[in-house]
Symmetry: D2
Subunit: 465 residues, 4 copies
């Protein structure tokens, strides 16, 4: 079975002598989209030069002397950290040679739902695979299509039409860069411009960091090709489906300072969701506080709408570390949580509204709520700025199976009791859809509603709702 | 000239089988007090076992298998990162042997103002020094005093009476631990208790992380000795001076979830300072925002008091990284600031009150303000939740000389113009003192007022006001 | 152009619970065959588990906790270090998946002379390549053949018949291991047995280290398959060509304690070559000395045959290091050679016979001879225990092009003058062939004679003689 | 108890702009004298700059960019690797400051026999110790003496007169370098000259590597001071004792290409010892072979004298590695010895004379002999080129206590049986003394005879014979 890739980050620069350094900056800004591996592929002397490794951007490129690498074309990729199957072979960009010595580098964000079927078909034709990613499938198809097609674009179009599911792709040849977005537009992908150079990024915040001038979305079902002749957009399918933008990007995955589908600013959506949450689930209380940093914006929105003052209750330790604590000591250092402390005096005897952005397994939330109880909160009202997450994602978010989603296993009353809450409120689906600009049917809400946009060619190993 | 140590962090455990792991947790919590070096000394088989290294806690202890080290007595130290003189020799705890094979480990937070005089005296008696710290002076004195004294306590008292300035010390012998606070109580130092074990920490937040039961301050001019007989407090000077607690700890240095002098919660002091700032420097505006994370609490206070809504304008990237950008590229990636982004739409056309906790050199603030201007803020009102910092610190905060303190070089009007502000307001000295509980004369305000509590034995190399 | 692999080392174990550790020991013993990269692939839970990295065996596996990896089937590979094109992608074993999820690992020693033609053919069929090795070509062919063949063996035979040149291959599936030797037997490959386990190794010394019981050669044009049913040998070509064993393995590449083609012990061949050299190029002298360690055995042979006493003149430093010497200092520390010192008093005023095993570029030899002159040797007679190396190798030894081979560019008299020798003698081709057991035409002597055994399908980029 | 330092290596350069790089080359050449730690102290801007670390020279200075460090004065030290007590604190050069801010770096080779007495005296005067070395004692004494003395030389002389035992010292101040040899001349120490620069080294081979012009011994009981006025020798004791040069340096410790006491070349002494061994313990045999590399020279001598041909039987693997073999696998990979292989056919059915330089515990020899038996040697005659080592060393060689010295525990017949030999022969004491130039009473032979030269102030913890 082909491993899913889950949400990742892409960044590319075409036509700037500092392409590699800018790509480093871009990846650093997109670090939240993946900490398992990072890589940059650039063109040096007409060949692709690759740096990649396991870990976050800073550790992968530490001591690599990026500044010595002169290139005006580069793409970069960060990959999501998952448990247990973290392989160097899966790090991206993937770089291969194919017909006539052509070399290409590819970075992929998203997940193909027909990856197994495609791979089986390719293997039956004698293809060999070095990684367990679905991304390698794309390059195999492209190389095969190219043997029959008259040019690269024809081959690419034929390839893309075979792919089902979520795919934002960034590809680099020695003389061109191509950015592809799937027909549904599941994952974000943006085009930017800085002086004469062309840029691509998963999120617009990465453009801010390198001070790009303007930007616009790579349209669903379209690829943008940039080369010495400039930019050209190619629509590669004839009948475009209704878009299916991942609304969970707004709620959880993207940075607050990024713009997503149609240009909505993530922070605005989150504050609006917090305000809507206050309207839907009002309560009398002394204090609104966020589970940091995920609930920060929604908590502000809730406070502004409800008039209940905001307070800081949880204190995060931003240094990276881990506990070297042997099991026998864990009881002794009772529940040492190196990342988060609670300010007792801020909640003692108070009625507290606690805001988080989502609830997946419910275990972390339970720990946080317990700390508040121990600190002496008189009432705890938990508010979540999205609906209950009840269904797995097929399109690139690493959701557990339904068995691990608390809202799929328990009723709201059961969850409230499990977490030991005075009240619990989730934002309604309609309420959330009111916080974004595009029509409601332009978003994928599969993880909340079980309505999935692309089901035709779904591989057998997906868990059905 | 002896190098100053600047603010550091201390943590110790006496009498718990997980002493080393708890000390790791404590140091991790105190990481903000120093990232230059970290170290833990523990008692293993009646000998002192030391791990120390350059860098932050996580990197120093990475792969050290702390959990394999069984010890029930340990002290730890984190050291402040300063530019240009970062030496392994200066990492603490310092461990030495002296008379009769006795071994002692010492960690020091603070700065002795008569360190050069003491060192000169010792050198004239033939002492040799392995580090450039003033902490080593303490051990030399102790060893010499011990040759004449009948017991350790007598020697320690004689030693401590020779020291002038700021010193919170934590010392470990194979059978006892001693925590010392200077007569003025410049730096914080706390005693805690968890089950049967005795704990010491620079800040109370470190006790929260290991779930200690109770805590109280090590009193100025006192040392606390813990051994198999329990705890005993010894006042080592006869005439105690008026306390001189460092108020800058409240404003800048300590964690918001720690309690300091007399038990004031840092977060409460900072929110109160923000409220007072709103009263002293009101302005009509659309939005209050913090320079994160230093201005967060004061901004909340300002918003609550003024009624002007809080907004998130700056977005921090919490991942650790550095720019591998060659000088020639710096112009191109104009001012790439990997750590902080500004959300343009949040401030465009708005009147913004920007809150920070202090202003030292003014250069970072200038950059932040410029980003807001570029984002289109119509008015920018800068508010600082402490008075103008005009004088160097003699007692352990790494302030630059007056030449580098902007408020020592420019008038407030000049600063306002330099930063390109519509208005600028600093909290008054009295206003700040109203935010804390102890009498006003119990605090050191030297960096703001130039009134220094301990001047008698000041070494010649200090810059006089 | 596909990069040549050059001489490498292979080791494999099938059927011993310590397979991984034994493979580590085997690779360590074969370290001299390649220090660029090292890797081990083993079967864990029916999947191939791979460790590989750049550098020598000790550094690649440092901290990898091989002893925690329980597997009874493993293959390992060390790769030759060449200048300038050292890529992780080229490290072996290469591991891929192909039809029906089958997984295979491959290690390759040798060089295919039709690698470019094969690769072009595959690329035209849409294959993609992740490395620049010719080894990947073998796996592509095998996967394609397998789609048409009824079973693995048929596919493998069809694949092997397409390959021209030198290839000793070791392949691992979850349930079998296959060792292949090319029809000419260019590179060595041995089968061994230890208790119930099957072993494979490039050289027999690796069997000694793990105390294997018996061994025999994998025959040219044959593959040996081991699985739960035991060992089976398959001849995969119908008309076997005359063998073409690389005689340079005996002279230079292999360990003295290994047996090669037909079972000749390398040390015996080298001592015999030294004896023959004494017969062919006698001279009156006071002392015979070796360039260590390459000339040690031949020097002993020369001394024994000539009666001239052996002496130690050069002293090697076996510690690994490199000179951190800036160019400006190089003149000052005149010719600092950290690896080799000369004992002046051992040669001062003496007539010295210096023995080395071969002469490639002549530059190192020149430096050594100059040191002897400076030390005051009265006469220097240089003797080389093989013929002049005049032609490049097509079959896996990293010889430079003819332009870099001194014997291809200069006459013997010119070399003698260039090196500043009193006399120079190379062993004759016939003389060398007398030192080995098999018939003279069973060896490849291409690098000395220009007579190459396999020329039919030679790729265009080989330098012709 | 103060830890003994054991044999180490020293190198220094005064007055060459490449001093640091030359010191690196020198230490690399002296690497055999110590692999536990390495360090270089140099003068940069009138301050001592130190690089030191645990491990061998190459690993300690890897990535340190020595070539960026411009200094014309440097000293370096390598320290012997011992089991169980390897501490960074003990790495040298030790650098301290003392009176009036003077800074000094010190490297020490040898062992003080009155180290505990001196340390106790210093501790009673209030001194503190950062390391467990006896070297730190020297600096404490010097600093104390300096407070009473009118100048450095007077203080140094007073210090040196307090020291008993073996000490070759190299000391660096910002404007001078001083090399000291103890009154008995236990350990070697040489002065060299290269162009205008002054050099010091433990062994002359290090001078060869940097191409020094001339050299002469630092005389026992003398220190050599070099500064801007050139070289000056100072005899610091009035009545010089009879020299006591360590003869074991010739047999085992030093490089064969070094000259030691009085200028004897180590290789010549070892060959002469082998010849003498042949005369004292002749036997009829087919073959003489060495345990490499320690027995190489003596084996050559034995072969030359006896006329029995030399052969290579043991093959060493010079790559650095270690076995990652879990205990349960050790039996399976029966006795895997990654470092040494035996060529069976070279000894099968042969009468073999095996030569080694010394026998300490006898366990390694036993393993080697057993391998020869397994390989089928018909007779094994073991010859050792020094007398039986029966007594511990007090002066800096890390000999085990008598309990661990096989010759102290067993008779020669018992050793012969224990090792399963046909005959065993040790060189006689007189025979060995005949191989060196100076009078017999100029050497320390304590480890063989139990006659120790300096016993007056021996600390209590030494094992008495």
């Amino acid at each position: 079975m082909v491993k899913m890739k889950e949400a990742c980050g892409l960044f590319g620069v075409f036509g700037d002598p500092s392409a590699v350094e800018m790509t480093y900056c871009g990846l650093f800004t997109l670090q939240h989209r993946g900490q398992e591996s990072a890589g940059i592929a650039s063109i040096v002397d007409d060949e692709i030069h690759t740096y990649k490794g396991m870990g976050n951007v800073a550790s992968v490129f530490k001591g690599r002397h990026l500044e010595d690498l002169t290139s005006d074309k580069a793409i970069g990729h960060v990959r999501y950290s998952t448990t247990g199957d973290s392989l160097f072979e899966n790090a991206q960009p993937i770089v291969v040679r194919y017909q006539s010595g052509r070399q290409v580098a590819l970075g992929h964000n998203g997940n193909l739902v027909n990856r197994n079927a495609l791979r089986k078909e390719l293997e039956e034709q004698g293809s060999i695979f070095a990684s367990t990613t679905d991304s390698e499938v794309v390059l195999h198809l492209l190389a095969r299509m190219h043997t029959q097609a008259e040019d690269l674009e024809t081959a690419l179009i034929a390839t893309l039409r075979r792919l089902k599911g979520a795919f934002s792709l960034l590809m680099l040849w020695k003389d061109k860069m191509i950015a592809v977005r799937d027909p549904w537009g599941f994952r974000p992908l943006w085009y930017g411009k800085k002086d004469g150079a062309h840029l691509f990024a998963s999120e617009t915040a990465a453009f801010d960091i390198v001070r790009a001038d303007t930007h616009d979305e790579v349209k669903p079902g379209t690829f943008v090709i940039v080369d010495e002749n400039g930019r050209r957009d190619v629509e590669y399918i004839e009948e475009k489906p209704t878009p299916a933008h991942c609304l969970f990007e707004h709620i959880y995955f993207a940075r607050p300072d990024s713009r997503l589908f149609g240009g909505d600013l993530v922070q605005d959506v989150r504050i609006a969701a917090g305000r809507q949450l206050a309207r839907e689930h009002h309560v009398e209380a002394d204090l609104v506080c966020a589970i940091p940093d995920s609930g920060n914006q929604a908590a502000l929105g809730y406070s502004l709408e409800s008039g209940i003052p905001l307070g800081f209750v949880f204190v995060r330790n931003h240094y990276i570390g881990r506990t070297f604590i042997k099991p026998s000591a864990k009881d002794r250092i009772a529940g040492a949580d190196l990342k988060l402390n609670v300010i007792t005096s801020a909640v003692k005897g108070k009625r507290v509204v606690v805001i988080d952005d989502s609830m997946i397994r419910g275990t972390t939330g339970k720990k946080r709520i317990q700390r508040l109880r121990e600190a002496g909160a008189s009432e705890i009202h938990f508010r979540i700025s999205c609906p209950p997450t009840r269904f797995p994602c097929y399109y690139g978010i690493n959701f557990k199976s339904k068995g691990e989603l608390i809202a799929s296993q328990k009723s709201l009353d059961e969850i409230r009791d499990f977490l030991n809450l005075d009240s619990l409120g989730f934002l309604s689906m309609d309420g959330l859809l009111d916080c974004v600009t595009l029509p409601a049917d332009n978003y994928c809400t599969g993880c909340w509603t079980g309505n999935y946009p692309v089901l035709d060619d779904l591989d057998d190993d997906f868990e059905r709702s």
